[in-house]
Amino acid sequence: MADVSKERKNKEYNDYVKQVTPTHNLPLNMAKAFLIGGIICVIGQFIMNYCGKLGLDKETSGGWCSLILILIAVILTGFNIYPKIVKFGGAGALVPITGFANSVAAPAIEFQKEGQVFGIGCKIFTIAGPVILYGIFTSWALGFIYWILKICGVV
């Protein structure tokens, strides 16, 4: 009995909190994300085109593109500039490969003081861990589904 009324009171409180808590302007944030994400992808495309012009095939160009974007993100993380870009652009800066690079470089820098093994070694993937785990798991799952569909002759 007491639990039910406590739950109800809590729900009322949480609904009230939602009303008085300010939130970011979603359309504005989406626009900023679009802008930053777009700029990063344009830079990536520029690298791809340039590599193509130098005569490299698509796969090698793609490799260089990833490498250079990751390098830029790691350097900007080291100089503490990348967080400022994310503050403005949000998902636009976090979703591309540059965000992944930042999420690995940041713990590497922070946990240096706890040593090479227990600090950097154990904690470097503290933020990127879920991305790696579930990314690989999802591709396995999709591959499995594709294999099944192939057996059934659907694909």
Binding site: V17, V20, N80, P83, L94, A106, P107, I109, T126
Partner: protein, 336 residues
């Protein structure tokens, strides 16, 4: 004669005096509205140390020594030390107070530690177990972020209700006599949980606890909001302030005219990008030392209720989907 007052408060028959206080802060706090009132502002976030945790220990050491210096006392003349911080196992405190060789009561109240340490220190002196004690607490933005949230270099967007952990330490020397501010009573708080799970909206998590303690203080001492020149919470921030005023209105008390919040006072929200305000053990402590006590000592305020608030979560409890309980300790400080 009993000193118990009402349900959970204490009215000291002989008030305990705050004879000195010191505040040591970092760059951001020094650039805030209270900047020139702090005893020491250090531009280097590492405070000359090799990691954030020892940096926080150093801030505590500096604050303690400054408070002792102001009172013209040696560490040997302090009988007990009541100290705490936000870090796991209170490591900033343990390493920070070592050199002073004062018997230590390490305490954890999250951001309400200042109120808890002042309460326990005052109780100890009033009961005759000590002639002089020190209450000490600290927080550091970087060490707190590392423990509770993300590495500093990681990019993320903070919600508008989020608060900024203060880098700072406040130290207070309590004694039977002296100074111009005294603790006349306390209302220790209980854990209050209204089921908020968003640890980034700490104002909402802690406001119910602040409401509970303030309400109980009014009931136990038979007081109204107007009996205090100011009711000052620790770090509810802008969002938490709104909620607190509404919660107390529901209980029949309007504190809107006398309420202040250290988290709101310590930063300039327009220029410092601190969203809902400041937080951390250091927030209430340095604001008490730098801004509130001087006003009490001068007599601009005669009696205030100082209510630091704490959010009692851990990184583990947050991940396991638990709610964030709050606590708030009320300390009645008067001019004398």
């Amino acid at each position: 004669m009993t000193q118990m007052m009402g349900q959970q408060s204490i009215q000291f028959d002989k008030a305990v005096h705050i004879i000195s206080a010191a505040s040591v802060v970092g760059k951001k706090e020094g650039e805030g509205p209270l900047g020139n009132q702090f005893d020491l502002v250090c531009e280097d976030p590492m405070f000359g140390e090799k990691n954030w945790e020892t940096a926080e220990s150093t801030i505590q050491k500096e604050a303690a020594q400054t408070a002792l210096g102001k009172a013209k006392l040696l560490p040997t003349q302090i009988r007990y030390l009541f100290a705490g911080d936000l870090l796991g196992q209170l490591i900033a405190t343990s390493f920070g107070v070592q050199d002073m060789n004062i018997p230590l009561f390490g305490i954890y109240g999250a951001c309400s530690t200042c109120g808890e340490s002042l309460t326990l220190g005052a109780m100890t002196i009033n009961a005759g177990y000590a002639d002089r004690v020190m209450a000490l607490t600290s927080s550091h933005f970087a060490s707190a972020e590392k423990e509770f949230r993300f590495p500093l270099e990681y990019g993320n967007q903070r919600p508008l209700a989020a608060t900024w952990t203060v880098t700072g330490s406040g130290a207070f020397v309590l004694a039977e006599n002296g100074g111009h501010a005294r603790i006349s009573g306390v209302t220790p708080g209980k854990v209050v949980d209204f089921g908020v799970k968003d640890s980034l909206n700490m104002g909402a998590c802690m406001a119910p606890a602040a409401c509970d303690t303030i309400y109980q203080n009014f009931m136990d001492f038979n007081r109204q909001p107007e009996d205090y020149d100011k009711i000052i919470t620790g770090d509810l921030g802008y969002v938490g302030q709104t909620i607190l005023v509404d919660l107390l209105k529901e209980k029949g008390f309007d504190i809107s005219k006398v309420h202040m919040d250290c988290g709101i006072e310590i930063y300039d929200r327009e220029t410092q990008d601190t969203h809902s305000g400041g937080s951390g053990c250091g927030c209430s402590a340095v604001t008490l030392a730098a801004m509130i006590l001087p006003k009490l000592e001068k007599g601009s305020w005669k009696r205030i209720l100082f209510v630091p608030t704490g959010a009692l979560l851990s990184p583990v409890s947050a991940h396991e989907g638990e709610t964030v309980p709050g606590i708030a300790h009320g300390v009645v400080i008067e001019h004398c």
